[in-house]
Symmetry: C2
């Protein structure tokens, strides 16, 4: 192992996103990311399996936050209340990084491979959320359904949050947490009409 590099992961993540925005994901190499970060390719591969993965570094932290919030939900557990608490906790973590999230999403939206990786990450989050609900005694079908629906709500809210300023309404700027609240209200309304 090489010598310890302070904040190597963060530096690689920032360098990668900069380059993906400047030149596009396809036209950026791992060597260039490492160079921009002032690190070696070897260090890159010690932290990330490939240049896609560097964009999804936050995914396991997000999973821990979601699972932790479900595990800490008060008894008795109402499945969608626990899911809502988990989404709120995730919003708290993501809110500070809106500009990063917006740029990252633009890179993902421009590349099919990255969209695929994102779908896989979201499916993993849903599985982890369902498992956390089962651990709290929620039955199998309800756990799966609540988790899938929760991730659907999160996807919609997240997209509205990152896209809001494209429409030039900075005066009506909303937090991710507010978009999640609005999507949960939307869910109650559409589900009541099912």
């Amino acid at each position: 192992m090489g010598r310890w590099q302070p904040d190597a992961r963060g530096r690689l993540e920032r360098a990668a996103l900069e380059l993906y925005v400047e030149r596009g994901f396809e036209r950026t190499s791992v060597a260039e990311i490492a160079e921009r970060a002032g690190l070696t390719e070897r260090t890159f591969f010690r932290h990330y399996a490939d240049k896609r993965e560097v964009l999804f570094a936050g995914s396991s932290a997000l999973q821990e936050v979601l699972v932790g919030a479900v595990a800490g939900a008060p008894e008795p557990v109402a499945p969608m209340e626990a899911v809502a608490a988990a989404l709120e906790a995730a919003a708290g973590v993501l809110q500070e990084r809106q500009e990063h999230a917006r740029r990252r999403q633009a890179v993902i939206d421009a590349n099919t491979e990255l969209q695929e990786r994102e779908l896989i990450k979201l499916a993993s989050l849903s599985t982890a959320l369902a498992d956390a609900l089962r651990q709290r005694g929620v039955d199998d079908a309800t756990a799966s359904l609540s988790a899938e629906v929760g991730i659907a709500v999160f996807k919609i809210a997240f997209r509205r949050w990152v896209e809001q300023d494209q429409h030039g309404r900075r005066d009506r700027h909303m937090d991710l947490s507010q978009f999640i609240g609005a999507s949960l209200a939307g869910l109650r309304a559409v589900a009541a009409g099912a």
Copy 2:
């Protein structure tokens, strides 16, 4: 172009699924699929881009059924009622092919690449469903949310339907349509507690 082969797509699809079940997806080649179907590799590639795609041949037909049902929903359109009608219509098409669906799902569950392709197909179905709702005048956020939630309901119902006989309860056998009804009822229940 070669001469016309009666039901070439169906023959290739059946041959592929047989071989994937017998030997596994990875260990089956396009040449073997064509041979089993009594056709040439050239004919295979006239119908399918690769050996993954042959498992998802039904996806565009399913999309047409979903979109058609939303387009034909009575005025005024309650979004989740239109989605429920679309899922019912899809169930009608899939119900006859339960054994095929069960074997196909086992092949997909054993292979990460196929699971990825399945997630992409489901995301496309959700996008098409949301577009169909927008065409009917449903606002953007409600259309996306109803479509995502509808596909979540469909995923859960479909899985319960294909897996039901693994638990040896043939006496309590349910149609896909019944599982969809149960998942929609589950949705109303969990959403009310959100």
